[in-house]
């Protein structure tokens, strides 16, 4: 099989797996998410376990992957920015505001959208609207292009890239 086909088929499979994980974990239920965020009410702590388990699983495999010179299906490991800045924290605060209002974050929004039309579909459409709005006016609040929008520098060597990931 060609590498390009392998890349999109694995991405499709991993998107499906990721989405099933969101469903099994309870993250796709807005009332459950709001109950998790409601520390002083009838608090549902189970989603904290979801975060811990997901972070732990990622951290273990990430440490193995980082020793490799390149991803298994080609390309390069990304160089990611390290320092927090105002734009990062402002964006995170806005996201927290929206998440607290609706109990839906982007991954579950797409899974629930796939499950059927309803109020969540309205949220998902509005979310894409917000993304497009950021594309239109975001230049003013964006100091730099997001790392995933920038093609990797051809002169980058694996050692440098690994440092960048840390």
């Amino acid at each position: 099989m060609k590498r390009a086909a392998k890349r999109w088929i694995t991405a499709l499979a991993l998107g499906l797996l990721f989405g099933l994980g969101l469903g099994i974990s309870g993250m796709t239920q807005p009332d459950k998410v709001l109950a998790f965020l409601d520390l002083t009410g009838a608090w549902d702590p189970s989603l904290a376990l979801v975060m811990v388990a997901a972070i732990g699983a990622f951290a273990v495999v990430f440490r193995i992957a980082r020793r490799r010179p390149a991803p298994l299906l080609g390309g390069r490991f990304p160089r990611l920015p390290k320092r927090p800045d105002g734009r990062l924290l402002g964006g995170a605060a806005l996201f927290g505001l929206g998440w607290g209002l609706a109990g839906i974050c982007p991954g579950p929004a797409l899974v629930d959208l796939g499950a059927g039309l309803g109020d969540v579909a309205v949220f998902s459409a509005a979310m894409v609207g917000g993304i497009l709005l950021h594309r239109l006016v975001g230049a003013g609040v964006s100091g730099q292009a997001p790392p995933d929008r920038v093609a990797p520098a051809p002169e980058a060597v694996p050692g440098v890239i690994r440092q960048g990931v840390r």
Binding site: W8, T10, L12, A13, L14, G15, L17, F18, G19, G21, L22, G23, S25, G26, P30, G41, S46, L49, V50, M51, A53, F58, A59, V61, A65, A70, P71, G75, L80, P84, R87, G90, G91, A93, F95, G96, W99, G100, A102, G103, I104, C105, G107, L113, G114, A115, D119, V120, V122, F123, V128, G129, G130, I131, L133, H134, S142, P146, R149, V165
Partner: protein, 141 residues
Amino acid sequence: MPPLLSALVGGLIIGGAAALLYLLHGRIAGVSGILGSAVAPETVDREWRVAFVAGLLLAGVALRLLAPSTVPVGGAGTPLPLLVLAGVIVGFGTRMGNGCTSGHGVCGVGRGSARSIWATGTFMAVAIAVVFVMRHVIGGA
């Protein structure tokens, strides 16, 4: 499945899928970033992003058929105008802050990124504060 077991299993699957995306593709499984780049025509290497988003939508179809209680599409009874406002803010905020629960909260914290730890602490704190205000100050519960 008991709630704590399904939380553990679901979390391991989420982290495992994100980790495999990194190992195979060298990509961070940040849903807001993947979606944002998937809807941008100028994106380099767009196909895998569209495929990942399609996988998430397919997961919704599968859950609807196999475990419908996991995907209530009713939005927790949040009034529609508030849901629209929240959606726009989530879309804008996650692009401005370069990530959401998956990219910062799982992958970023998992690799020990200072940026992601700050971002995750910020959105968790704000979301908890918003729920407190909505339920216990405005709601008067």
